[in-house]
Amino acid sequence: MSRATQRGLLGAVLLLGSWEALARGLALPAYTLPAISDIILATWQHRSLLASAGWYTLAEALLGYAIGCTAGITLATLLILLPPARRVVMPAMLAINAVPVAAWSPLVLLWLGIGMASKVAMVALAVGFTIFLSALAGFDRQDRRAADLLRSFGAGPIALLFRLRLPAALPLIAAGMRVATVRSLIVAIVTEMLGAQGGLGWIIYQAVVQIDFVQVWSAILVASVLSLSFFGLITWLEQRIIFWR
């Protein structure tokens, strides 16, 4: 086990330990802070409900994430191939992006209903912008001398794109994709809280209404496990694929 992992584990144990001690020692009421052991126990007791809610949210987040990544990279690529279009599209894109994502959700719920589609759309929107902007920044970072070299070999715009610009942009695209993992789950859950037929956000909303704070914490626990695993997976893939940095 590496030192970093050891330290991380130690930190987690210390945090959870003091949480438990604080909640039990001060006998805090559940609406302030339930003991971590109670949360874990409750999570286990409601495991099938939480698991299906977790899957529901994860499915929305993953689908939205995939759509957002594809759309973001495709749009950035098109704008790179058509520089005049970039000057037209960019101001509109930045204006849309300046509005906090959450502000769109009532509209999206109105348009797409409270099923999965609205969550997927919201996640795709949030992820898409992150990836679009990081891909564009990555494309702009290309080395002119390397481009000249490829042109001297007779490369046209398409060959330049696939053999130079896209790979050169990958590190920044991947960094954007890493940040977007956590964002995708947050956006899915927040949108579910505004109206849904299932998912962790819906569970949280229901639990608050029923004043079941341990249940709220259980859902939060499941959400953090999901988002950490997603983040870890993408980070792992990133290190595998972008080995040259």
Binding site: S152, F153, G154, W244, R245
Partner: protein
């Protein structure tokens, strides 16, 4: 300058038309006149070396011959006996820029075949051919390594291999050994000469090292300070294959004196201009 050019022309067999001919070539970048009234000609199979003070426009000249930059209107550029625009030379000249510019996400083999891939060659066949050439470039067994795993000398050899595999008559090498230590450098020089004798290509070679210029070249071109043009074209009538012992011979020293005098004059000029 004109007498030097006449001398060169006399040294060449009259029958072969020059591979590359430039005259009256100029290039201005904003307020900077990088190259002015430049004239040179290169015969097929010739190894021409190019020296000159830093910033005199050597790389600019290469960018024009590689087709990346268009010279200012008014100059004459002829390739294989035919007048042409610089951009028509894109894809027709094998160019190795000043930095190795290996792509960090490609291993040695895939960097070496980059030009062929762009030409649309079958990737598997190109790889197989490159693999067979690795020993000649001192890279045997390194095909799967990535640029960040290689020494500076090896990176240069990969870049050279990429340049050689782009099979064009004219090779432009911009300070290919600039970043190497003296020992590696002299090994690479002899190796390049062998390669050139074996593959019979025409080479234009930029260097800051006068010894290197004379040791390698059939002819040394000395450039003036900016705005750059050809100040001196000095034939090197030393026997081939060349041996490192040549570097201390009186003939070599005499040539070196001549080149150094010309460079010194230009270096003084550019120094005075900047002071």
């Amino acid at each position: 300058m004109s007498s030097a050019l006449a001398e060169t022309a006399a040294a060449m067999p009259a029958s072969a038309p020059p591979l590359l001919e430039m005259s009256g070539i100029g290039k201005r970048f904003g307020a900077v006149q990088a190259v002015q009234n430049l004239a040179l000609s290169v015969q097929p199979g010739e190894f021409v070396t190019l020296v000159g003070p830093s910033g005199c426009g050597k790389s600019t000249l290469f960018n024009m011959v590689a087709g990346l930059d268009e010279p200012d209107p008014g100059g004459i550029l002829r390739f294989k006996g035919r007048g042409c625009h610089a951009r028509e030379l894109l894809g027709r000249v094998s160019f190795m820029p000043q930095r190795d510019l290996l792509l960090p996400w490609r291993n040695v083999i895939d960097n070496a075949i980059l030009a062929q891939e762009i030409e649309g060659a079958n990737r598997r066949e190109a790889r197989a051919r490159a693999l067979a050439m690795l020993p000649e470039f001192g890279l045997a067994g390194f095909e799967k390594q990535y640029p960040h795993q290689l020494s500076g000398g090896m990176r240069q050899r990969v870049a050279l291999m990429r340049t050689f595999l782009f099979e064009r008559e004219l090779l432009l090498l911009d300070e290919p050994f600039g970043a190497l230590d003296a020992l590696t450098r002299s090994m690479m020089q002899r190796w390049l000469l062998e390669l050139w004798q074996h593959h019979r290509r025409t080479i234009l070679f930029i260097t800051h090292d006068v010894d290197e210029a004379i040791f390698l070249g059939d002819r040394v071109l000395v450039m003036t300070a900016r705005p750059g043009s050809v100040k001196l074209s000095l034939p090197v009538n030393l026997p081939r294959p060349r041996d490192p012992a040549l570097l201390t011979s009186p003939e070599f020293t005499a040539l070196k004196r001549e080149v150094l005098d010309a460079i010194e004059e230009e270096a003084m000029k550019s120094f005075m201009a900047s002071a």
